[in-house]
């Protein structure tokens, strides 16, 4: 038991995420083969990867926001709104694609900017600010759109439908966005400031960082990526829908994927790579359960249990490896946990 704890401690949380993903993969291969189907058939791989793309876009944005110490609950409504704007402006005319995409992403960026300003300038907790903005958009959608709206032209629909071999185009775009987000986090000033602000906003401020900039940037990017997810959904469905985002439950699922990926919910610690692992775990679980024809309601049960159990694994590890002096709730309240860091270090 003690040796296992030591082994876990040496792994970074990203490595653990991918170990869990590997375990899910092995489980999937065993289960899927046991009913006589192939897990690695091109069709199945393609369907797993397709499953990663929408949640992937949103989870990347969510990672940035959570790293900055905030939270975004408005993503499903931004996604729905984006799908409606895109499909509405395109109106089945291929000439409108570019303007529709720009308008959609522009609107999403403005929403992100508003959220960012509310969080950073008015000092409203991200939870409340985004819950509020989400509700505002949701009321607008419910009042003005009764069903699906607009239509996307065939050329645009192909983005959601084609792929290079088994890899769908949408997944490639998602990975490209992930790459850009990583560059932002690790190679730019704003990225470093993002970690600093998420870690401790007071310390960041006294160190001379303009704390508003990273928070606002993270929210703008998150909303734009939610807009991208909306575009992708519009391209897949061929129409815009006012409920496509909320039906997917993307707000809570993306937060779960981010935390599953080893990012601290309180901010300041985590990676995009981990988040992608978390999204992959969800997509594989979904795929396995679909292939096994698990009752759709039981899927939610499995998801819920997996989220809690997986996070429990990292969370235990984190208490142990965190320096005791700043140990927030963990190290101080359970005296039993205190001797452990001494042994470990």
């Amino acid at each position: 038991m003690k040796r296992r704890a030591g082994f876990f401690q040496r792994l970074s949380s990203t490595q653990i995420v991918y170990l869990v993903a590997l375990a899910t993969l092995i489980l999937g291969v065993l289960l899927v083969n046991s009913i006589g189907r192939s897990f690695f058939s091109p069709g199945n791989i393609s369907s797993i990867l397709t499953g990663t793309s929408v949640l992937g876009f949103i989870a990347i944005g969510q990672t940035l926001v959570i790293l900055a110490g905030s939270l975004d609950l408005s993503v499903p409504y931004v996604t729905s709104l984006a799908s409606l704007i895109a499909a509405g402006v395109m109106a089945n005319n291929p000439d409108n694609v570019l303007s529709a995409v720009l308008l959609t992403l522009g609107t999403a960026a403005v929403i992100g900017l508003v959220i960012g300003l509310i969080v950073a300038r008015l000092n409203v907790h991200g939870f409340i600010a985004t819950l509020g903005v989400g509700l505002i958009i949701s009321g607008y959608l419910a009042t003005n759109f009764k069903g699906s709206f607009g239509e996307t032209p065939l050329a645009f629909r192909l983005i959601g439908a084609t792929g290079l071999g088994p890899v769908p185009i949408s997944t490639i775009i998602m990975l490209a966005c992930a790459g850009l987000a990583m560059l932002l986090l690790h190679r730019t000033r704003v990225g470093h400031h993002l970690y600093a602000v998420g870690g401790d906003i007071a310390v960041a401020r006294t160190s001379g960082i303009r704390v508003d900039v990273p928070v606002i940037t993270a929210h703008v990017i998150c909303s734009v990526l939610a807009g991208m997810a909306g575009l992708l959904l519009a391209s897949r469905l061929g129409v815009g829908s006012p409920t496509v985002g909320s039906q997917g439950g993307y707000d809570l699922l993306s937060i779960a994927a981010v935390v599953l990926g080893g990012t601290l919910l309180s901010g300041g610690k985590g990676t995009i790579t981990g988040t992608l692992g978390g999204v992959l775990i969800f997509a594989m679980l979904d795929n396995i359960m679909s292939v096994m024809q698990v009752n759709p309601f039981l899927k939610d049960v499995v998801r819920g249990v997996v989220i809690v159990v997986a996070v429990a694994v990292y969370a235990r590890r984190r208490i142990v490896s965190r320096p005791e002096r700043f140990g927030t709730k963990g190290s101080a309240e359970t005296p039993a946990a205190q001797p452990v860091p001494a042994e470990g270090s």
Partner: protein
């Protein structure tokens, strides 16, 4: 608590010995006090638009209608003031509603056993939420999110996602019945009585050691642990109370809304909205339990007002969204000012004025403080 904190500053002491009316005025300027003013303004607006709303009979029915969400808000308050979230509330409500529908059916003899079962299940869910959060150190957001998905999935799997028959009428009476033939009021709905009982219990609990400890834990868990409180047990009890209040809300909703898997959907966010509207700070340590209940009433009367004004029901969300942002922005200013007042060594006039914590609590505390000094 405030006197102990500021015992060195005679100006603060003098301020806390101010007259009752002055203290009340000061309390009304905190976010937790302002909600009562907002509530009165909203109610006045409704009565102005529709005078029959102000009649005792219809007013008490309004209170009865709001009781489930107010009870849920009180439960959520315990968790939030302890520095955590409970997102599983909506699923607990749904689960209890379905359990009542499926297990009681038309059999009056089963009402009591099933009621006991529901309460035990509610407490058990809270215990699980609390223990995973505190002992396994999983963020409560994730724990209760997982619980929400799992419970809702189980309930839908059990029922196949369709509406069920209503339980025996004697059970539904808890939510829709009342004491008949009361003078003036005509009827006192049972939900009003239950809400009153819950509110009094919560009020008393928050002034007992448990409540004091919960606020301390929400404000600074490390300091509370060093001061000798069992943080994990305090927080776990808060989760148990949250799930129990969701259970109560579910029992009342069976009477109002009947049995359907969509009852209770989104309840967790409505409850959190109400609590936050009541000036309770997310992150814990600040706020008064009755303000949270008042937040629920303010939200419900806002919806009623919009209804009377002929606004489409679909705009409800938008108004709710806008109002919580404004309320929290205002509250965060006010709490910030207070924080500075409590810690800065140089007190100026304005900071002193903001040094009493929550509304009536603050007033009562300073009374006790006065005896002690």
């Amino acid at each position: 608590m405030s006197t102990a904190l500021n015992s060195g500053h005679s100006a603060i002491l003098k301020q806390n010995r101010a007259s009752r009316s002055e203290r009340l005025l000061r309390a009304l300027r905190t976010p937790g006090g302002a909600i009562f003013i907002l509530l009165i303004v909203l109610l006045a607006a409704i009565i102005a638009l529709n005078p029959s709303f102000g009649e005792p009979g219809s007013f008490i029915r309004f209170i009865g209608r709001t009781a489930p969400i107010a009870i849920a808000a009180i439960g959520q308050y315990f968790v939030i003031v302890g520095g955590e979230f409970d997102l599983s509330m909506g699923s607990v409500v749904t689960m209890q509603v379905i359990i009542a529908g499926n297990l009681i059916r038309q059999d009056d003899a089963k009402v009591i056993p099933v009621l006991v079962l529901m309460l035990v299940l509610g407490a058990a869910i809270g215990l699980v939420n609390g223990l995973i959060t505190t002992l396994l150190q999983v963020p409560s957001f994730i724990v209760t999110l997982g619980m929400m998905l799992a419970l809702l999935g189980l309930v839908l799997y059990w029922t196949g996602g369709a509406a069920q028959g209503n339980p025996a009428d004697s059970f539904r009476q808890i939510g829709r019945g009342g004491i008949q033939n009361v003078p003036v009021l005509d009827i006192i709905p049972y939900p009003v009585l239950i809400l009153t009982a819950v509110a009094i219990t919560a009020f008393v609990l928050m002034r007992r050691p448990f409540g004091r400890m919960l606020i301390a834990v929400g404000d600074n868990p490390a300091a509370a642990a060093l001061a000798g409180s069992r943080v994990w047990w305090v927080r776990t009890r808060a989760f148990i109370m949250s799930s129990l209040s969701a259970t109560l809300a579910g029992i009342l909703l069976v009477g109002y809304a009947g049995v359907h898997p969509s009852v209770g959907r989104g309840y967790e966010f409505t409850a959190i909205t109400a609590v936050v509207l009541g000036g309770v700070a997310l992150g814990g340590g600040r706020g008064w339990v009755l303000s949270a209940a008042a937040g629920a009433f303010a939200l419900e009367s806002l919806f009623t007002l919009l209804n009377f004004m002929g606004v489409q029901a679909t705009w409800r969300d938008t108004v709710q969204g806008a109002i919580i942002i404004v309320a929290v922005a205002a509250a965060s200013r006010s709490w910030q000012r207070k924080r500075k007042g409590a810690t800065a060594s140089a007190h100026d006039e304005q900071h002193q004025l903001a040094a009493t914590p929550t509304p009536a609590e603050g007033a009562e505390q300073s009374e006790q403080g006065g005896e002690r000094v």
